[in-house]
């Protein structure tokens, strides 16, 4: 039965990524070897890593601008501590925007390294919006923000222009919309939303910002060492990197970020229009900050929950329950989610209205 996978991540990937990566497990590049058994130093895998790194930079429009792309292990959660380790000075300070659960988790780790200024927080409103109108201290070593808040369904629509380095956790909306990515000193993103399966993390670093904070950094946490080793300081996550490359190739063939952004906007418009029109539903995020990736909404009354859930199941829709901190529903419409699947969800919402 055809499933419509609304999981928040790991999540849907393009069908051709499943097919090509399954084939590579049985026989990679007609080598009579599995992608799982080849050396990461083999010519074939070095080519995968090089292409993945170059394609990430190309898709983000950062060619020739002094950036390096790395595919590291550990998830975005490891970047929560690598960022301050590499950028915060001893006795320095960092500025953070607290826009959700993951922003808050990043703040917690930064505090291990020094003073961490929270420039603004929407925690008191259960993160139903992205804070605005804040002041970023000009003497901070860097400013950290989160472009999309998966759990709360909010998304930063604008980013400040700063004289200090800006770091952004783009785990849940990288490659989904056009941004001037050259505004950022470091962009990081766990693969498992728009880029690939779980097990690797893209880190895009402007090389010139490294090596300036005076800290002695353990090797595996040192971006400069990973760059010098061309993202092979130690054995990389071979298969997750390969599947990420396939996903980036799919995106490039589709027309890159400009093309997917149109599709993502169409999906989001379709769903939010129904949420606003249908008297049985209401959105939880303030309208101006609504995420194109994760739409969070509630049923008007718990009386309809069982009926709606049964209809979702009947339609093959999975992964729709909201995070426990928000409740209700969360429709994650990452890059690989087709417009048709969003139409199936909207049809179920209309059917519920007709049935009640």
């Amino acid at each position: 039965m055809k499933k419509h996978n609304y999981s928040a991540g790991p999540c849907i990937l393009p069908q051709e990524v499943f097919e090509k990566s399954a084939q590579a497990i049985l026989n990679f590049n007609n080598s009579d070897l599995s992608i799982l058994e080849i050396s990461h130093r083999s010519k074939d895998f070095v080519a995968v890593m090089e292409e993945a790194r170059a394609l990430a930079i190309e898709l983000l429009g950062l060619e020739g601008k002094g950036y390096q792309a790395l595919f590291l292990a550990g998830g975005a959660s490891l970047e929560f501590l690598m960022t301050p380790y590499n950028l915060m000075k001893e006795n320095g300070k960092a500025a953070y925007l607290d826009s959700g659960t993951w922003a808050s988790a990043a703040i917690k780790e930064a505090k291990f390294f020094g003073e961490t200024v929270i420039v603004a927080s929407s925690k008191d409103e259960n993160y139903n919006h992205v804070p605005k109108g804040y002041t970023i201290p000009t003497d901070a070593d860097y400013f950290h923000c989160t472009s999309n808040n998966t759990i709360f369904g909010t998304q930063m629509k604008e980013f400040p222009t700063l004289d200090i380095p800006m770091v952004c956790d783009m785990s849940s909306d990288i490659f989904s919309r056009n941004i001037d990515f050259s505004k950022f000193a470091i962009i990081y993103a766990g693969a498992q939303k728009n880029m690939g399966p779980a097990g690797t993390t893209l880190v895009v670093v402007k090389e010139e910002i490294l090596g300036k904070n005076g800290r002695n950094i353990p090797s595996m946490l040192d971006y400069a060492k990973h760059i010098k080793a061309e993202s092979m300081y130690n054995t990389p996550s071979v298969f997750p990197v390969y599947a990420s490359l396939l996903t980036l190739q799919w995106l490039k063939n589709l027309g890159g970020i400009p093309a997917i952004e149109k599709i993502n906007n169409a999906k989001a418009n379709l769903l939010y229009t129904e949420i606003d029109r249908n008297p049985l539903f209401k959105g939880t995020a303030v309208v101006e900050d609504r995420s194109t990736m994760n739409a969070t909404f509630l049923l008007d009354t718990p009386l309809h929950t069982d009926t709606f859930n049964a209809m979702l199941k009947e339609a093959g829709i999975i992964g729709l329950p909201g995070h426990r901190s928000v409740g209700g529903y969360r429709a994650s419409m990452y890059n690989a989610m087709p417009l048709d699947s969003v139409q199936v969800l909207v049809d179920v919402m209309k059917d519920l209205e007709n049935k009640i």
Copy 2:
């Protein structure tokens, strides 16, 4: 063409692991979903993680002995710093055995955290043996050793009995031979030799040793936090963990470590007997320390190199070149390598002798 894959890691895995994991990418557990797109919090994947953790403990004979198994990201190289972070006291010290390149890399990272005593080193003899007869300071916070030195083809045959915690990097020979694993406080191993594809690392921790060194540890580097979260503190490497479970299931069905140890000994005996018998070859590791996993050997003269390499290629043997620091050849015969493949290599060695 049938290949005989002697790569040092990532390396050969059981054929059924390739087949089952490729199938799971197309349709996992008849869910009509790919293993790459399911949530790590889904019932199906939580079951994978739980079974993998329990099976690792079972195969090592550690059930009911206070150990927890974790599948973490980052590779053994990240454990080089997690181990001291979790066990070395502020102003404490650790004792390390320097038996090879990876032992030496672990020592380098420990020095970020405090005094690191090298109890013995075989570096001056290019690590051709495992040091013996050393004294371990009784006031060290822990003793660290490396059970198998992939690059140099040496293996520890005995482990000390200590009153301080013993930590062992078993990346290249875990699950290959019976050891009293309960002697160790922490065992860690990158998956990509005997356990699965690259992208996850098994860490087996005796719980009672944690939380005693007085350090404030960043969350992702804190074993206690990973244990509390049942190895899901953040999104784990879903596919590498699943493929590791398939490999552990294969090992259990085969009869576990006692069964594979017999096969590994037979493979090693077959190859070392030929290395010693054939006048064209000589081993590089001292005989008593020879590894059952990685056999390192040289041709008697470079004159035969091209001929031998061509014969290897003709026989479908790949991954045999030695590491640049030793030269010559390295035959990695991990658990999934069949005895037949070793026979193919031995036959080529005999053929070379007949041809010359």
